[in-house]
């Protein structure tokens, strides 16, 4: 047996196998990163198509194209797919591609586990999507699946939903363990913690959050399963439980989860702003400490999602102040990004356009979050379109823009080809206009009192809903352009240099473009 293993060891540098088997059996962090990124893109398009159904229905008041039951299923699946299928896997894909190269490691620390983490996802989402064709339809209780809507009143497919969430969670936990072990154990000599690129730092913290909260989500769905099928009463007051308990457990997971979806974006944007400002990042260590503070605070703010549920006053006050405190480290980060650009020799390539608009639009989303954190104000805003506008501002021009920025920034390193700059800028401007036209009016209709999650609305909200739908279709269509640009770059294009960008620094820019199949088989020297 040992001789067989040895022969494996010898053909270490032969490069990838051919065909489908390469992707099914791969242990290579670059292959797995690519798989994650394409999977996430596919989910982004599917979840996006569902968003188009939602917006088309809301184009005019009254029932237009779908049944209310189906609208609820679209709403639920859109949220679940975008959170667990699009944003999170995209960041894991970026971590796979970049973290080993950035710390000078030969691969991820646990390569086979890495493959398992990815391949669980298509199966989990296959099951989730198949629930659309089951008796009673797909889950229809919103992505937050509050009990008793998700227990007593759920369709039978909720059982499949519960188990697919378990599998997604297992995938996330294993992926995060891999990232943490890689960062803690695989850094090249000289790569001290406080010399690590910020994207690596952001993922170290994100992975910690994931390992801390995904098991709590598993606990929540397990209690649901028991309540539905085995007679327990966790979320049933008649037996001494409490439906509000579900919300507490869910948001104990859910709030760190929203930082899981933004911290890697912070890392990406820091790199891009630094490169295209041709300056060193302002306040590196304060960036690290800000991310750590945000991560720690994220565990003590969960109940700000539940101000109107009927909590004791002391809890409302505590969660209000704790939430507001998060604005401080976040403000530090925004200040540092702006200070990095100050007096820099800035050029506006596509990644930089996405990064700058990230800073501006994410900050808008942050400020509306600050408004929502005020308890008496939240009583007015709760469950209105103002909330929808708030979290879409942090997720779409926040997380999603940062992922797009990352793709444009690193795709020359992945493929060896430059993308088409003119088309990239066109994609940016269409997305930028689309996203603002979609979501900015939702602030107004929300403040005017339009509730979220309904397929119909009062006549006074008609005009801005029409505008919002127009923006949504513009944004959706411009992502087809994105797909085209990425495919074109993969096929060919102007050859990229190893450094790619004039101001780029870091180990990943010291290897050729495209990056060889195996990088840093022996660790590089880090100064």
């Amino acid at each position: 047996m040992s001789s067989v293993i040895e022969s494996h060891h010898d053909d270490h540098h032969h490069g990838p196998a051919k065909g489908l088997m390469r992707w099914l059996l791969t242990t290579n962090h670059k292959d797995i990163g690519t798989l994650y990124l394409w999977f996430s893109f596919a989910m982004f398009l599917i979840g996006g198509a569902m968003a188009m159904v939602i917006r088309a229905e809301l184009f005019q008041p009254g029932m237009q194209i779908v049944e209310p039951e189906f609208y609820n299923q679209m709403l639920t699946l859109h949220g679940l797919i975008m959170v667990f299928g699009a944003v999170m896997p995209a960041f894991v894909g970026l971590a796979n591609w970049l973290v080993p190269m950035m710390v000078g490691a030969p691969d991820m620390a646990l390569p086979r586990l890495n493959n398992l983490s990815f391949w669980l996802l298509p199966f989990a989402f296959g099951i989730l999507l198949s629930s659309l064709f089951m008796e009673g339809g797909a889950p229809n209780f919103g992505w937050t699946f509050y009990a008793p809507l998700s227990t007593t009143y759920a369709p039978p497919s909720v059982t499949f939903f519960i188990f697919s969430v378990h599998i997604m969670g297992a995938s996330s936990i294993m992926g995060s363990i891999n990232v943490i072990v890689t960062i803690m154990n695989m850094r090249a000599p000289g790569m001290d913690l406080m010399k690590m690129p910020l994207f690596v730092w952001s993922w170290l913290i994100t992975a910690y959050l994931l390992i801390a909260v995904m098991p709590v989500l598993a606990g929540a769905v397990t209690m649901m399963l028991m309540d539905i099928h085995f007679g327990t009463s966790f979320f049933n007051a008649a037996g001494g439980g409490d439906p509000v308990l579900f919300q507490h457990i869910f948001w104990f997971f859910g709030h760190p989860e929203v930082y899981i979806m933004i911290l890697p974006a912070f890392g990406i944007v820091s790199h891009i702003i630094e490169t295209f400002s041709r300056k060193q990042l302002f306040g590196y260590s304060s960036m690290v400490w800000a991310m750590l503070s945000i991560a720690i605070l994220s565990f003590v703010v969960w109940a700000h999602h539940m101000f109107t549920v009927g909590m004791p006053l002391a809890a409302e006050l505590f969660f209000m102040w704790a939430t507001m405190l998060i604005a401080v480290p976040t403000g530090v980060k925004v200040f540092n990004w702006v200070a990095t650009m100050f007096k820099g020799s800035i050029t506006y390539e596509t990644p930089m356009l996405f990064a700058i608009s990230f800073v501006v639009l994410f900050t808008i989303g942050g400020f509306s979050g600050l408004m929502l954190s005020i308890v008496p104000a939240d009583f007015q805003y709760h469950d209105t379109y103002f909330v929808v506008a708030h979290f879409h501002y942090v997720l779409v021009p926040g997380s999603i823009f940062s992922i797009m920025a990352a793709v444009y920034y690193w795709i020359p390193k992945w493929t060896g080809n430059m993308y088409d700059e003119r088309m990239g800028r066109l994609h940016f401007w269409l997305s930028f206009v689309g996203v603002n036209v979609t979501f900015f009016p939702q602030h107004w209709i929300g403040l005017a009192g339009m509730p979220r999650r309904y397929p119909d609305y009062a006549l006074q909200f008609a005009d801005w809903n029409m505008v919002s739908t127009a923006g949504a279709f513009l944004f959706g269509a411009s992502q087809i352009l994105f797909l085209f640009i990425v495919l074109k770059t993969v096929m060919g294009g102007k050859k990229a240099t190893p450094q790619v960008w004039e101001g780029a620094r870091g180990l990943e820019w010291s290897v050729e473009s495209p990056a060889p199949y195996h990088t840093f088989s022996t660790p590089p020297k880090v100064n």
Binding site: H9, F123, F163, N185, I211, T232, G240, F252
Partner: protein
């Protein structure tokens, strides 16, 4: 010192098999649960097929890792990766239990007192005005309309009955097993394989005794006390916490048994290389700590 290459297998069939068998497993599990009241359903066959495939994949996967280790492919750095990996896996398990302990603390400190009319949200008492908050909660707020009211809880029965109180014996068994596994570890570190095997064997035995006692306790709860999953929030938290703990004892016991077989029949482990055992023993200590928490918050307080 020259850099020892970090072993990265060129490709592996195990993960895709594991992912696919989990896919079968959860389709089977969901279908089985959804057709519980249909005696003609064959869905459990899918469940067992998936489970068997998954366990087989794990067996061959771990066997491969052991073989690679014995072939000397593991650098010190790779071994360190396993150390970190196991530690973080145990942390994720801690957080899983935290969800259930959190639920227990929440219902005990807030939900039940409020339903009984105490505290700031005591208004909840208007739902069932006869309900009085007690813990262990035996009478459900709805007076047992939708639930089966138990005769008795599993809590501390008072000093006079302590000699019949099963959880006390469970505690003694499990705490001793943590000590015996530590003795095994000490023996191994001195290179004394015989001491190691004996103490490890005793630990596995204690694990079996614990599982047996736990089964007896469940039998007693269901048959004699009428305490079931359907007995309201006390039964829910009791069975979910002790049940998941018991499941983890079985898992940890299985790990230790595998290490025992590897040591006795295959001569694995020596004083320098024994992380497989060490990981299993960490897991065992973790399971033990969870039990101490359970004993305190589920049984005594």
């Amino acid at each position: 010192m020259e850099y020892q290459k970090y072993y990265v297998p060129e490709s592996s069939k195990f993960p895709i098999f594991a992912a696919f068998s989990l896919f079968i497993l959860i389709i089977g599990a969901s279908s089985t649960i959804n057709s519980l009241d249909n005696p003609e359903s064959n869905a459990s066959l899918i469940l067992y097929t998936g489970l068997a495939c998954f366990l087989a994949t794990l067996f061959f996967w771990f066997r491969q890792v052991v073989k690679e280790n014995n072939a000397g492919l593991e650098s010190a750095q790779l071994s360190q990766s396993f150390v970190y990996g196991m530690a973080w896996f145990i942390f994720s398990e801690v957080m899983f239990f935290a969800a259930f302990f959190g639920a227990l603390f929440y219902v005990r400190s807030f939900a039940v007192p409020w339903l009984g009319g105490e505290g700031e949200k005591g208004l909840a008492n208007m739902l069932w005005q006869d309900f009085e908050a007690t813990w262990p909660l035996i009478n459900t707020p709805d007076g047992g309309k939708a639930f089966v009211i138990a005769a008795k809880s599993m809590s501390f029965p008072g000093w006079e009955n302590i000699s019949h109180w099963l959880p006390l014996y469970n505690t003694i068994v499990l705490l001793s097993s943590s000590v015996t596994v530590h003795f095994a570890h000490l023996g191994l570190k001195k290179g004394n394989k015989k001491t190691f095997n004996i103490w490890l064997g005793i630990t596995v035995l204690l694990a079996l005794i614990f599982v047996g006692l736990q089964a007896a306790e469940y039998y007693e709860a269901y048959e004699h006390f009428g305490l079931t999953l359907n007995s309201g929030i006390y039964g829910s938290t009791f069975f979910m916490l002790t049940g998941f703990h018991g499941f983890h004892v079985m898992l940890g016991g299985l790990m230790l048994a595998v290490m025992f077989i590897r040591s006795v029949f295959y001569g694995h482990f020596n004083e320098h290389k024994h992380f497989g055992f060490e990981a299993a023993s960490w897991y065992w200590h973790f399971v033990d700590v969870v039990w101490v928490m359970l004993f305190l918050f589920v049984y005594i307080l």
